[in-house]
């Protein structure tokens, strides 16, 4: 098999039709198509407008609390070196996006999209949410800008994530439990699309991950790229060099693409995306790249968990934020051309990594980045001590303590 030729830049995608190689695109119903085209036009104009960028940057600094710190995890590094071969055990650094307002990277994207919604004259915001982090971030920016907000959330997730449901309500959002399909994230996204199609005149759909019809994957990536842009500059300033490897967890893939994208043309920087292997790749999981096949869902062509008739199958992960049967189209492309490697971590491995970080660094991570940390613990032992791994700590674990307690058999 011939490997595809390496492009001049890995950062020049998508094309004007929103295609990342064979992936992405605009697979939406005709009712939405004019809206998606209008959104694209509005986003191009905003991207070219220094005032838009100034407003975005100002809010990220003073409202979100950026830049987030770049942190050398010395005790975790030492702990892993104890069980590593002689001279091995790479330095582990974290981009601390869990310190953002609302506790995760999701808010970066929400700030960008709500500014665009206001620019477009939209007066009503909708969003889907799985674990509730994107719902909370969306409800937050809606409160900040005084726009009504409807959050679609699978009925099963409403039950599992009661604290986040209450947070969204405190912030003034209306949370609509979705009882179609399997009552989880993909069904919430279906319901978001149905709402949008019926309210196209006044409604802006804030999609939470780097997926959906063009320009969403590009737009979400651009807003989240603040993570990688900051991290690259911080790493150069602190160590005078670039990291050897980047690691990030992948559900839809917005925190990972945000970290990776600014480094894509740095040929010596390896990148590793970590999917959720759930109970194991041979059982129920959420690893669309490892266990999926290209297809079309929610507006884009990408790898999907599906059966041989193209029916979408249910994902499973202990982390509700990774519990989605698809992945952003740019990751599908980066995987196929070989620029980024993808691995997976099981529920159990993520739980172990979660506890390890709590004890070694005094940081309670979310279950999503716990998957990345699980893979970091393996990779660090295979790399030399002078090498650097930079992982994205994309969310904090306060929201997950009930899930973790249950998994560990602890009553709280």
């Amino acid at each position: 098999m011939n490997a595809p030729l390496a492009p001049n830049s890995y950062r020049a995608q998508p094309d004007e039709r929103g295609h990342f190689g064979d992936f992405g695109g605009r697979y939406v119903a005709e009712t939405l198509m004019p809206l998606v085209l209008e959104l694209d036009e509005a986003y191009r104009a905003a991207k070219a407008d220094p005032a838009f960028k100034a407003q975005f940057d100002d809010l990220l600094e003073h409202y979100v609390g950026r830049p987030s710190p770049l942190y050398y995890a010395e005790r975790l590094t030492e702990a892993l070196r104890e069980s590593a071969p002689e001279g091995m055990g790479a330095q582990i650094w974290f981009k601390r996006d869990e310190l953002n307002h609302t506790g995760a990277h999701k808010i970066n994207n929400c700030i960008g999209q709500i500014l665009l919604a206001i620019r477009m004259g939209k007066t009503r915001i909708i969003a889907e949410t799985g674990a509730g982090q994107h719902g909370v971030a969306t409800a937050t920016v809606c409160a900040r800008f005084g726009l009504p907000c409807v959050i679609y959330m699978g009925a099963k997730d409403v039950e599992r994530q009661a604290p986040n449901v209450f947070r969204m309500k405190l912030l003034g959002a209306e949370v609509r439990p979705v009882t179609s399909g399997a009552h989880t994230l993909k069904d919430a996204m279906n319901e978001g699309m149905r709402d949008w199609v019926a309210n196209v005149h006044d409604t802006f759909y804030i999609i939470g991950t780097a997926a959906g019809p063009h320009p969403y994957p590009e737009m979400v990536r651009d807003f989240q790229s603040v993570i990688g842009t900051e991290a690259r500059a911080q790493m150069l300033a602190r160590t005078g060099r670039l990291p050897d490897m980047l690691v990030a967890a992948i559900g839809g893939g917005s925190n990972a693409i945000g970290l990776f994208h600014p480094f894509l043309d740095d040929a010596d920087v390896q990148m590793l995306g970590v999917e959720a292997a759930g109970h194991g790749l041979d059982k129920q999981h959420a690893a669309s790249l490892a266990g999926g096949f290209p297809g079309v869902l929610h507006g884009n062509k990408t790898y999907l968990l599906q059966d041989e008739d193209g029916q979408i199958t249910e994902a499973h992960s202990i982390s509700a934020g990774l519990d989605y049967p698809g992945i952003g189209p740019e990751h599908a492309w980066l995987r196929d051309i070989g620029r980024v490697q993808y691995d997976s971590a099981t529920d159990t491995e993520a739980l172990d990594a979660f506890q390890l970080l709590c004890r070694t660094e005094g940081i309670i991570p979310a279950l999503e980045p716990s998957h990345a940390i699980a893979t970091v613990t393996k990779k660090a032992r295979e790399m030399r001590q002078d090498q650097i791994i930079l992982a994205n700590l994309c969310g904090r674990g306060d929201k997950d303590i009930f899930t973790v307690a249950e998994a560990l058999g602890v009553a709280i």
Binding site: R17, G25, R26, Y27, V28, A29, E30, T31, L32, M33, P34, L35, L37, S180, G181, K186, D187, N190, M193, R194, V197, A198, V200, H201, F293, G295, V296, L297, H298, G299, K301, L304, Q306, E308, D309, G310, Q311, I312
Partner: protein, 270 residues
């Protein structure tokens, strides 16, 4: 002449609109779908839309969502849908049959495979909800090569600037989705349907059929006065939900009431 073209020519010649009836394949069972399709024809449907169930029917309202779930829950496979189509074609050599559904099940084994399998099953046209003209490459060339009409959708949000894009490569008929929304809920105002049909017919020679939210004979007649075709779906699917494997007779009676209304719609009382 294709079956769709022949049917629209025939109904136009007799001074009426074509009645297009939708049901979801495999609802409530794969065996029950054949008799329901026969009932649609017996009741007076001129063309059939056979819905391909999908786990994530994003453009559909509660009635058709539930039908998709019922069908998949009892195990409907793509092969079953093609078998239903093949058997229908054998029983009804002249009635146009259109497959309607979402892109993923159509693309799963490759668009070439799907186009050939559909042609072999005697399918005349395909409506794919989430493959818009912008992504035509994914499915359109393969269907056209297999001699299958790709039926495009126009909606209230399809403006004059965009309409040529929609019409480029459209064949069979143009499906005007009269409501910006999902299937089976509200119906559009008669005036807006009339304006839209006039606007569309000024731009294309292919027949214009109108659907979404049409359920009573009176509504069907109103649409039939101005459009080349009237599409009814959710109301039929609701009858199937209500009567299950005994749905054929109530479906036939209901379609008959619509067909009678459509047939007399353009006759102005003296």
């Amino acid at each position: 002449m294709s079956r769709l073209a022949a049917t629209f020519a025939r109904t136009a010649a007799s001074g009426r609109a074509a009645l297009v009836a939708f049901v979801t394949a495999g609802d409530p069972t794969t065996d029950a779908t054949g008799p329901i399709l026969d009932a649609l024809v017996a009741g007076g449907a001129d063309a059939i839309e056979l819905g391909m169930p999908f786990t994530d029917p994003m453009a559909d309202g509660p009635a058709i969502q539930a039908a998709n779930i019922r069908s998949l829950a009892q195990g409907t496979r793509t092969a079953d849908i093609l078998a239903i189509a093949t058997a229908f074609r054998a029983r009804h050599p002249d009635v146009p049959l259109v497959l309607m559904g979402y892109g993923n099940p159509m693309l799963r084994r490759g668009a070439d495979w799907f186009a050939e399998a559909a042609a072999k099953a005697g399918v005349d046209g395909v409506i794919c909800v989430d493959v818009p003209p912008e992504e035509d490459d994914a499915l359109g060339p393969q269907l056209r090569a297999a001699g299958i009409d790709l039926i495009r959708l126009a909606t209230p949000t399809t403006d004059a600037a965009r309409l040529p894009t929609v019409l480029d490569g459209a064949s069979g008929f143009l499906y005007y989705v009269s409501v910006a929304g999902i299937t089976g809920l509200q119906q559009a105002q008669q005036g807006s349907i009339e304006d839209a049909v006039a606007r569309l017919k000024a731009q294309t020679d292919i027949p214009v059929a109108v659907g979404f939210g049409i359920r009573t004979p009176e509504q069907a007649a109103n649409v039939a006065r101005v459009a080349d075709g009237v599409v009814v779906g959710s109301a039929i699917v609701e009858l199937v939900a209500q009567h299950g494997t005994a749905a054929a007779e109530p479906v036939r009676a209901y379609i008959k009431s619509l067909a009678d209304a459509v047939a007399s719609a353009r006759k102005v009382p003296a």
